[in-house]
């Protein structure tokens, strides 16, 4: 009796996680089928390799792949490097403006990424971008100061776009430290920079690499920046091709689109396997043992102003100009810097609030986002916990499987989910739950990336001690591991919540009038050319979020565990 129940208990995580794995594989299966089937899945047809042959015969494939890789590697490097430096300054030092560096980036990713990319064109278009406009007016020169329509330009924009998520992934790791490690370094006479480079940085490496990997894959499958900035620059990436295959022709060429997506998938899976290999010797990253003491702040001393300057510099190149430009654009009927002061109106806000069915969409959106947060965090936490803390067999395979949806561009993923819920009828077709399903698939990999690093940093002793004292799996997990990892878990939850509210594009096939959400409303407006109304909508959301975050902060909810300061 006791034996069977313990067996069941041992099997339980496998059953749970296999279910999650199955639900992940299913849309991917339909997409794979779509790529080797001569018609759409569900329709009569035959097996064919013609889609793959067509992709391989694409005369521009080589150039496009090269662009894609340069763009993805470049932007993820920018995001991770900047994210690491800022996370260090915010979490470990006494530099000023740390609160601003936490709040402002969060606000920027509340904006749909298409809006963020557009706002860079408002700032940095060669002739009418505000920066270049002011520059050419002031200097009388013809040449613009910075032209965003270049490969470095679009890479930088994507890098800045990804920076907040890299920051949120890395920051919590800095508080999971045994401070003695750094203190020993400092005590033995090393400088702060040396300690950072040789001690601090290596210890948070799993989180940094995890963040890099995530940013890399997101940049691979990103569409908005390559479309809005890349195409006018003459730089095409793989997603530009996938996108046009899916939306430009009727019937949509799902077969070739998914065949192209398979290339992205292959690159992503290779990257994830490389990551898993690199952390297999995980013990070397353990930084939080059972003997942990309070984490303290590194006093920067004479470097303090430098740290402050770095934070200020970041704020001045990303969140401040971005939000200011969007704020200005939201009260313009159309964008034209010559008419900056004569073209002001609240029309966009009026249009946004008068958009039919907006209130129902808000309610649905909140239901969808909260449900997605609960599911992604639960699946992500359990997977990483059993993989790393309990060394579950096949755990790493499972994390790789759960990461598959991340490598699929949202419009491709949406089609896979659409076919799944349509043909494998579980009764959620046409309801908000289909959307929750899609968002859970899309954001579980993110939660896994958030948790992998910190999970590795916890010493095994901690669980073993709990088990030694008779704590069961559930008890150890909820009473020990979860509280210790509360920082990364809440950061992940916050990110998923904010992002799912304005994730445009994924919802189109999956919602019906009854299940319409805010993002479909914004997406419809965007596609019909009412872009500034989308900006106004985004701004309403940002203001609402700001109030919410400030209220939460006042009530004592910390987004990141700030280290306690030594007097």
């Amino acid at each position: 009796m006791l034996k069977t129940s313990s067996k069941v208990r041992r099997l339980l995580p496998y059953i749970l996680l296999l279910t999650a794995g199955f639900l992940t594989i299913q849309p991917a299966f339909f997409l794979l089928l779509g790529s080797i089937w001569s018609t759409m899945p569900g329709n009569p047809g035959e097996l064919t390799l013609s889609n793959y042959i067509e992709v391989l015969n694409d005369p521009f494939l080589g150039r496009v792949l090269l662009n894609t890789l340069v763009f993805a590697v470049g932007s993820s490097l920018i995001a991770t490097a900047l994210g690491t430096v800022l996370a260090f300054l915010v979490m470990k030092t006494d530099a000023r403006l740390r609160q601003a560096a936490i709040f402002l980036p969060i606000l920027t990713f509340a904006m749909p990424s298409s809006v963020e990319s557009m706002s860079w064109t408002f700032l940095l278009s060669p002739r009418t971008g505000l920066v270049n406009f002011a520059y050419t007016r002031l200097t009388g020169l013809e040449e613009p100061l910075i032209n965003v329509y270049t490969l470095p330009g679009m890479t930088l924009v994507m890098g800045l776009n990804l920076m907040p998520v890299a920051f949120m992934m890395i920051a919590p790791s800095f508080s999971l430290f045994d401070r003695s490690l750094e203190e020993m370094g400092l005590a033995s006479g090393a400088g702060i920079l040396y300690v950072f480079k040789r001690i601090t940085l290596p210890l948070v490496t799993p989180s940094i690499v995890s963040a890099f990997l995530y940013c890399f894959i997101v940049a691979l499958e990103a569409f908005d920046t390559p479309a809005i900035i890349g195409i006018p620059s003459g730089i095409y990436v793989l997603t530009s091709t996938i996108y046009t295959q899916m939306v430009s022709e009727v019937p949509p060429r799902y077969g070739t689109a998914t065949a192209y997506a398979t290339i992205l998938l292959a690159i992503s899976i290779a990257a994830i396997i490389a990551y898993n290999q690199s952390i297999s010797k995980a013990d070397r990253y353990v930084t939080l043992t059972g003997r942990t003491s309070t984490v303290n702040v590194v006093k920067l001393g004479k470097y303090r102003y430098l740290g402050t300057l770095v934070i200020l510099g970041y704020l001045l190149i990303h969140p401040i100009p971005l939000l200011t430009t969007l704020g200005i654009a939201s009260v313009h009927r159309f964008w034209n810097p010559d008419r900056l002061f004569t073209n002001i109106s609240l029309e966009n806000y009026e249009k946004f609030f008068n958009y039919p069915a907006a209130s129902m969409a808000v309610v649905n959106s909140i239901i969808v986002s909260i449900s997605s947060v609960i599911l992604t965090v639960a699946i992500g936490f359990l997977t990483t916990y059993f993989t790393i803390r309990r060394r579950m067999r096949g755990g790493y395979v499972l994390t790789a499987v759960l990461s598959i949806p991340l490598a699929l561009p949202p419009i491709v993923l949406a089609v896979g989910v659409f076919w799944s819920v349509l043909y494998m009828d579980i009764g959620i077709y046409g309801t908000v739950w289909a959307l929750v399903y899609a968002y859970t698939l899309r954001y579980t990999p993110l939660v896994i990336r958030f948790l992998l690093g910190p999970m590795l940093q916890l010493h095994k002793d901690i669980d073993e001690a709990a088990i030694l004292y008779g704590g069961g799996v559930v008890r150890t997990m909820t009473r020990i591991t979860l509280p210790l990892l509360w920082g990364p878990v809440s950061a992940a939850a916050l990110y998923v919540f904010i992002r799912t509210l304005t994730d445009l594009g994924i919802a189109v096939l999956l919602v019906t009038r009854e299940s319409t959400v805010l993002s479909t409303t914004l997406f419809a407006l965007w596609n019909t050319g009412e872009k500034l109304t989308v900006v106004a909508g985004g701004f309403v959301y940002v203001s609402f979020l700001l109030l919410l975050l400030l209220a939460a902060y006042r009530l004592g909810f910390k987004f990141f565990e700030q280290p306690t300061r030594f007097a």
Binding site: G42, T128, W335, D338, G529
Partner: protein
């Protein structure tokens, strides 16, 4: 004795009979006379009324003739047909009342633009509830075909871009229904079997910034002058979408030789910057970033102009106004065919089209719609729109997209 008495009796009765009959006749005459007098009196009083009715009938006849003339009815057969239609309409209304009372429409026309027509329809037929689901054209196609193959409920109607819808028609998804309103539409705007009819026009034009450009290029030659280099933006013709289909359709209209010259000079002298969105082409001309924009939505240009932006449309003399449209069609699996037909009739009617044409900025498809944005009122009565994309432009869009790429479009 008995003989004399016997002979007297019949005589007596004969006399009595005569007397009685005389009295009776006299009475009868009197009665008849009085009846006659009554009748004369009644007739006398009725006569004016009869004359009045005769007069009214005459007037009515004249009026009917006038109305018929005004309505273009030349013959009694036509009048009969109209009566029949009216009866059919009545029957349809009755039949529609017995249906589910719900119509689902998948549409690629934005909800805000179509909402006022839907509202007007619901006000007219309060027993039918409209559920309009907005999505992009390929998604309309995917939803319809996938839902049908999975035996799920799908839309009753579509209001979708023509190039998408024509594919649904080829796959036999549409129900043939020749709406009585369809007679007011040119043949190019409707299917012969009534499977679809144009409801909203989507004209494509070129745009220029009125601050930066005083007179827009008047010919293709002027348009490909090197002075526009770096100042021209165009919808991306290497994607196989609107831009590609527009350019390919232009080939047959201006002739292949001229077309080749134009493209060659365009890419050599001007090298337009490309953009993924047709709307953005207009927006970037309005902002002053570019002076000239090629292949953009006429309705975007006019909307921006109305908002006060320094933008206007133009077309070189060789290029006609190319127009595509969204059409309305009934899906043949509908369980509400009568309600669906009522909707088709309404959206194609003068009333429905006028509402569409007064929505900023949507172009109605019905000829002579008295609306603000009727093509004739915006562009003048002489406008001769040409339908695009051509068959080749649809079938070979991807091949041409690659050819344009090889010609040098898109690379900087």
């Amino acid at each position: 004795m008995s003989g004399s008495t016997a002979s007297r009796a019949p005589l007596l009765s004969a006399v009595a009979a005569i007397v009685v009959s005389i009295i009776a006749a006299g009475y009868a005459t009197m009665v008849v006379q009085s009846v006659q007098a009554d009748t004369m009196r009644v007739v006398g009083s009725v006569q004016p009324a009869i004359d009045d009715i005769k007069n009214r009938l005459n007037t009515l006849e004249k009026l009917v003739a006038l109305y018929a003339k005004a309505a273009g009815i030349g013959s009694p057969e036509e009048a009969e047909r109209m009566v029949k239609q009216r009866e059919e309409m009545q029957a349809r209304l009755e039949a529609a009342r017995k249906e589910s009372g719900k119509l689902v429409i998948y549409g690629s026309v934005d909800y805000t633009d179509i909402k006022s027509v839907l509202d007007a329809f619901q006000a007219k037929y309060p027993f039918i509830q409209i559920i309009y689901e907005h999505m992009r054209p390929p998604e309309v196609y995917t939803r319809i075909t996938s839902e049908l193959s999975a035996n799920k409920p799908t839309a009753d109607l579509v209001l979708v871009s023509h190039t998408t819808g024509i594919r649904l028609a080829q796959e036999k998804r549409y129900m043939g229904y020749v709406s009585p309103e369809a007679v007011s539409y040119p043949d190019i705007y409707k299917d012969r079997n009534g499977e679809w009819t144009a409801a909203v026009l989507l004209p494509i034009a070129f745009a220029y910034n009125t601050d930066k450009v005083k007179t827009p290029p008047e010919s293709l030659d002027q348009l490909t002058d090197p002075q526009w280099a770096g100042k021209t933006i165009m919808h991306d013709v290497t994607l196989g979408t609107t831009g590609t289909q527009y350019l390919v359709s232009l080939k047959d209209i201006i002739g292949e030789t001229k077309w080749n010259q134009f493209l060659e000079k365009l890419v050599r002298n001007v090298k337009p910057v490309l953009d993924i969105s047709v709307s953005t082409v207009a927006e970037k001309v309005a902002s002053g970033e570019y002076h000239v924009g090629l292949i953009t939505n006429l309705h975007d240009v006019i909307r921006l102009k109305m908002q006060g932006a320094p933008i206007d449309y133009f077309l070189p003399s060789e290029v006609p106004l190319l127009v595509t449209f969204s059409h309305i069609a009934i899906i043949n699996t509908t369980k509400n065919p009568n309600s669906a037909k009522l909707f088709v009739d309404f959206i194609l009617s003068q009333e429905g089209q006028t509402i569409i044409g007064n929505t900023p900025v949507r172009f109605p498809a019905r000829s002579n719609t008295p609306a603000r944005f009727a093509l004739e009122s915006v562009l003048g009565p002489n406008i001769k729109p040409v339908i695009y994309p051509s068959d080749e432009a649809v079938a070979k869009a991807r091949d041409w997209a690659n050819k344009f790429k090889e010609m040098g479009f898109g690379s900087r």
